[in-house]
Symmetry: C3
Subunit: 402 residues, 3 copies
């Protein structure tokens, strides 16, 4: 569990690499700053209140709070806390590393045009309140976990819905309210590709994320049970591989081009897709879930373009659409498949969706109406780095010195 | 074992960094694409058939196959599978991460001039068939493992021969049939250095590979035995350090220059060299093996140049020559040293060599005669990225914006 | 412990990224070379003599030596070695990874102007002799560990003083004797910012260091005790987050600018600050220690500039000043707080300081008076890469190819 916590922490490096790799150089510092802000403030927010909002103990199933800060009563801190599986501190830290992920997903989608101040406010509220409340509905023992009575209900192993779609809904609302980057759509609304500035870092980012998913899904077994943990790692990796290959094949057929970013997003799609049921699937089922997720990636990216939304890193497709797919897949494949389960899954997707859409819209609209959420045209064209941070990402970079 | 699997997976990030760092910018996307292809397709091929080809159970010692896909019978999946050491799933995933390595080694050697389609075909066959068949001869309980009767035979702890030389032989045949990059040799056959475009990433790649070797060798203990595992990590790290220092000293003496890439390749040479006997050596022996490997690196790189082969990343020297050195070293140093063992080692090196040379030559020649394996002169000069992938690695990169 | 060793090893990647990211492109190869040298030679020096100098067994409390090389008597190598916690090999390798850290800290401070030969000599002596001698005073059971009798004394959990301040004192002396980079101070002594060339790598470096600290502090528990280890990971991460946020807030208030490098150094300051007492603090105390460390970072960087010292990466502030702060904090907060303990802490800080200042000054002055320690003006202006290594870090880098 502690090793997994370290791996999930390392995912933030992956997110940062991916995000700056796929965006323009002039906004690199800004994106790095946002990511560092999310990691540090996200963890502190989770410490101050998020953890006890997500795991409130006995509560009404919708909203509960166990108080500020962490326990310091030594008695509760040993592994007996979780029947020998892990300690209270591990629990907090592992979950805290997850919490920041939701805001990071939004960060990628709104890159290159959002004002940093309002984004910080959004992050604090979304990580500090929205994410843990949704989480409490299932992982905290809330109403989603008992939809079908004491023994049945919504199932989301490691967060296709509770982490990825929560971030994805926030991203969708944010890019809708924020508008597209200057130059993304021409006068007729035709999308134009805005290439990123550092594909090696983007590729490294995806590999780091895959590595981190070993911790994300492996640690979500919440015990060292080697049979189940190793099955989870196997289904996770096979879904990732299948997602990548599928997106590669579909995009090559569709666009006659070996597109690296589709391959990469396909891997991420496969990972998000398997996350809800990584412990329920056979290897064959994991491959099928990945293959479908990869195809969804290619279609989803085209769809987002079609509806004139601007998502520089494909966050909505990867985290929201594949998150929904993975959640529903639990009702279609694997040990829990069945119509009842499918309906529980649909309910969970819907409940999280409605809550996230409403809260994200309220937060962002409030910010938009007051301080504004978008940088000036001049700042967007010249880059956020120099305007908000007074520095370039590679200011000393020179060519062919000798 | 599961942590080690994660570390071995992470080695692919190291390989990707090393390979793009030491090559030219215009082929970066192509190399990243190949690496991502290898990881994903390699894992799927190993899932479909490779694992059961490598571990066929009872077989004739040369070729056996236990069927497609993985077991799903729950009874066999617990740690009892391996006397408590690890589970069936862990076994598959750990070995699957190794499998892709062989193709990655070839990828570096043929970089900057091979057609991507034929390379994909080669990868599928080499990872899917050649690697697991050679592996079955030893790790699957085949004829190499019983050369000296039931209790003695070839020894290759973590794959100096079975992984590194298998990749190395493929690389040697491939660069011989493929020819050198335009500009590598002048009219008199004198080699010219073609510097890479990103030495920081190359350095990071070597450090990530060293980290990954903690999993590669540490996990090959195939149990959590702390005494042996920690000895293996110690010999591995000491050989890496000695290999680096040795290559640095020899190359500084030979060329009057503090050559970073020699230092880096020396570390890799030390790592490959210790891999066959990491569990048999004392720390002093590990240092000696590393020191010799480092010297081999400097000599090997000069030799490859001398015979007019073009290996942009030094893959043949690192993986093949040091792989052979490490395999033979098991007969010279450590717990198994002796003339009989030396001959077993030589037999293993020879058997793997002949099989890899023949199969690699057949695959590559068949591809060469049919679809061709080399890109056009125009494509090579302008870069594979724009021709095969329609994008630049750093397309938005700008200098001194403000 | 072994996983932690791997993570501590990985910190060297973090240091390398941070250091090259914050310095100029023309010295990148030089910095990478120095870092690779430190890792490999540091480990070998620790193997040859450092380990037995640091853990001499029974000794006079000031200086002892248990002989060259490592034990190879199998009996002593099992986990019984440390009451079941870890093996002799793990002990060596984990401590060996620490040893190199001290020299890496110096490396960052003297970057861009030190001659590589003398730096290598300094590294060999400092890692091989100075670091292990100071370490033996506490971790080897020396006089600092028994300042207050058998049961009380100086306390430094994972090395705020024994690792970080040892490196920090060396860095301080080195930059004082070496002088500032050309252009760092104008004629009136006013400091000028010399921006680094690769902020994404610098950011990645800090995240990798944070990850590595999971091993640095987590492994320093020296057993798998889950309750204490998980508490240590929690205090470590909370202090890092608090340090970053504090430095961000203070620097934003002071300079009206969202400064990424202050945020990053704040995280490092928090990590160094918690290192001495990570196992003694409650989460709240960890946050307070981090908040103060973050503020110290902003003030310390300004102070170093004010006294006209040139520390390109802020090593003295991060490792020395925050190292002292963290050490003293053990006497102020947590389970050992009290005036006696505070005086023990002060004594440890002072003893390490005096010894490091004297030895570093002797080594560096001797080098300065003989071979010289500073590159020529021409070399500094044109870059160390081309002069000492004959290569550029990104020699093939091109813009907008198509």
């Amino acid at each position: 569990m502690m090793v997994c916590t370290a791996l999930v922490f390392f995912m933030h490096t992956g997110f940062a690499f991916l995000e700056i790799g796929l965006t323009r150089q002039k906004n690199t510092i800004n994106i790095l700053f946002k990511n560092i802000f999310i990691i540090t403030v996200g963890l502190l927010m989770y410490y101050i209140g998020g953890f006890n909002l997500m795991y409130p103990g006995e509560f009404n199933g919708f909203l509960g709070f166990a108080g500020f800060g962490l326990e310091t009563d030594a008695a509760g801190l040993t592994p007996e806390y979780a029947d020998g599986g892990y300690t209270y501190w591990t629990d907090f830290l592992f979950q805290g590393m997850f919490a920041a992920t939701a805001a990071t997903i939004v960060s990628g989608a709104v890159a290159e045009r959002i004002k940093i101040g309002p984004f910080m406010v959004f992050t604090i509220i979304y990580v500090g309140l929205v994410y843990p409340i949704v989480g409490s509905w299932q992982w905290g023992g809330g109403f989603l976990s008992t939809l079908g009575g004491d023994d049945a209900g919504f199932y989301d192993f490691a967060g296709s819905t509770l982490v990825h779609s929560v971030g994805g809904w926030g991203a969708l609302i944010a890019i809708w309210l924020l508008g597209s980057r200057i130059g993304k759509f021409d006068e007729d609304g035709k999308p134009k590709a805005i290439p990123g500035h550092n594909n090696p870092l983007a590729t490294a980012g995806v590999l780091v994320l895959w590595l981190g998913w070993f911790g994300f899904n492996g640690g979500s077994v919440l015990s060292g049970d080697p049979a189940l943990t190793s099955l989870v790692l196997t289904t996770t990796s096979l879904a990732a591989a299948a997602g990548g290959v599928s997106a590669f094949l579909v995009s090559t057929l569709a666009y006659k081009n070996y597109d690296l970013t589709m391959f990469l997003n396909g891997i991420l799609g496969g990972l998000v897709g398997i996350t809800a049921g990584a412990d329920l699937m056979s290897p064959n089922e994991a491959v099928v879930i990945g293959l479908i997720a990869g195809a969804i990636i290619v279609g989803g990216v085209a769809l987002i373009d079609r509806i004139r939304l601007d998502d520089p890193v494909g966050a909505v497709t990867v985290h929201l659409i594949c998150g929904i797919w993975g959640t529903l897949a639990v009702g279609i494949f694997g040990d829990k498949a069945g119509m009842d389960q499918f309906l529980y899954q649909l309910t969970g997707v819907g409940a999280a969706g409605v809550f996230c859409i409403v809260t994200a819209a309220i937060i962002i609209l409030a910010l938009k109406k007051t301080v504004g959420i978008r940088v000036s045209r001049e700042e967007e064209l010249e880059g956020l780095d120099i305007h908000e941070h007074g520095m370039d990402a590679y200011s000393d970079f020179r060519l062919n010195q000798h």
